[in-house]
């Protein structure tokens, strides 16, 4: 794929190098030529220094033929404006923007942008580990309302039926891992203590489940 990465800070360089390593054609754009030093020496994509919102720079980056664009500069408004141009003007099929300052997240939502918040995601994960929570998110879809969470089956649930423990209208169990074998579990099947479950659910219902598990742990 032809992929444009705008912004060559830590995130941009990481994304660009990762995609380059998988064999994609990468063009990295940054207004500051010194930023390209963040790229590993064996990176063989194109680098383009210029004002990232100007038409000639975007055209030179090949935005008309791009299959995907990532806007990962440290400015939220620049990222969302770039994403909007890529989608609406140049019809780039895959566009993702980075949310830099979590307080500015609402701006990306207003544009209906596919947005990633490395800061918020990192902070949430750190919080989960610090609190030793029995349930943690491994994937968040869209703005994070729905996610996939990982949990370990507690002793008190041993031998019970999955759909009674986790009613299907609220919890979709997508994987059950026992030892190193994983399967898509039958709703009517029993679970064993120590099984690892991956559950698709909303943030609200995840909070409710976390409370149940914490209560079991205390009992």
């Amino acid at each position: 794929m032809n992929i444009i990465v705008v912004g060559c800070g830590r995130v941009g360089a990481e994304v660009a190098y990762g995609l380059f390593s998988k064999g994609h054609k990468i063009t990295v754009v940054d207004q500051d030529a010194a930023a390209f030093r963040n790229l590993p020496e064996d990176f063989r994509g194109l680098t383009l220094q210029g004002d990232v919102l100007t038409q000639d720079v975007l055209l030179r980056a090949g935005i008309e033929r791009a299959d995907a664009l990532a806007a990962v500069t440290p400015s939220d408004s620049v990222n969302t404006v770039l994403g909007h141009i890529a989608r609406v003007v140049f019809k780039v099929p895959h566009v993702v923007v980075r949310n830099f300052d979590p307080r500015k997240r609402s701006m990306h939502s207003a544009f209906g942008m596919q947005v990633i918040s490395p800061v918020s995601m990192g902070a949430q994960r750190i919080e989960e580990i610090l609190l030793g929570e029995p349930l943690h998110a491994v994937f968040r879809a869209g703005d994070g309302t729905v996610g996939i969470y990982q949990m370990t089956v507690p002793k008190a649930w041993h031998g019970k039926v999955l759909r009674e423990l986790l009613p299907q209208e609220k919890y979709r169990v997508v994987a059950l891992t026992r030892g190193d074998h994983s399967a898509m579990p039958k709703p009517g099947g029993p679970v064993e203590s120590g099984d690892i479950l991956h559950v698709g659910t909303t943030r609200e219902d995840a909070d409710a489940l976390r409370e149940r598990l914490e209560k079991l742990r205390k009992d």
């Binding site: 919102l53 100007t54 038409q55 400015s75 408004s77 404006v81 500015k104 207003a110």
Partner: protein
């Protein structure tokens, strides 16, 4: 009218003063502490909303749902674009006006981001300066329809084609109307039987394509050597 101004720099603060003086309701949003300190001395407290103007909650607090116009005057072009887009798309603000900081970003300031009117300061200044250089004594007073038509002022030079002529006999270019004559500090309306005299200052409404044609009627005759005008001659 109720107007929300985003950005309290020189442009935003000056606009707030101007609109306030005309009894319009104005709310100005700004979050830079140094700028806030300055505008608190210039503007009434109830006008100033302290916070990030690109934050939706801040816009709602300032009354974005009720306002009739948004003026995006921040020093960041991407912020101004995002502001116009969100104001229309989210809140249905009837009119959006944005300031362009970098002329090279001008291509973005249109319906792509719901910008109704874009003010390109650098471009306006540059064009005014270029006009001053190319058209001698003609000065643009106001631009209408985004600069397609302008109200201009020009003094009738001695020996000009128009000097001593009846207005009805002038071969005026099309898309051009003489609006008024300033003669010895009196303003006269222009009629067909008005005789133009050297030294008269003419106010005319003219399309941008016809400005040169009008200048050739009112200005010094072709081939005449123009003396270098003394600096500041326009200011009395």
């Amino acid at each position: 009218m109720f107007v929300i101004i985003a950005g309290g720099g020189r442009t935003g603060a000056h606009l707030a003063l101007l609109l306030g003086a005309q009894n319009h309701k104005v709310h100005l949003i700004e979050d830079r502490p140094d700028v806030l300190a300055r505008i608190h001395q210039e503007l009434p407290t109830e006008v100033i909303y302290q916070g990030d103007p690109t934050n939706l909650r801040m816009l709602e607090l300032a009354g974005i749902r009720e306002c009739q116009a948004l003026a995006a005057c921040t020093t960041v072009d991407a912020d101004n674009l995002a502001l116009c887009y969100m104001s229309r798309d989210r809140y249905g603000v009837p009119r959006t006006i944005a300031r362009i900081n970098n002329p090279r970003n001008a291509w973005l300031f249109d319906k792509k981001f719901h910008v109704d009117v874009a003010i390109n300061q650098a471009d306006l200044m540059a064009k005014l300066i270029a006009e001053e250089m190319s058209l001698g004594d003609m000065m643009t007073l106001v631009k209408l329809r985004k600069g397609e038509v302008a109200l201009v002022e020009e003094k009738i030079a001695p020996g000009a084609l128009a000097a001593g002529k009846l207005v009805r006999d002038l071969p005026l270019p099309k898309d051009c109307t003489l609006a008024a004559v300033i003669r010895k500090d009196a303003v006269l309306t222009v009629r067909g039987d008005t005789v133009l005299q050297p030294g008269d200052e003419i106010l005319a409404v003219v399309s941008s394509q016809q400005q040169a044609a009008l200048a050739s009627l009112l200005g010094p005759p072709a081939g005449a050597i123009q003396p270098a005008p003394p600096p500041g001659r326009k200011h009395k």
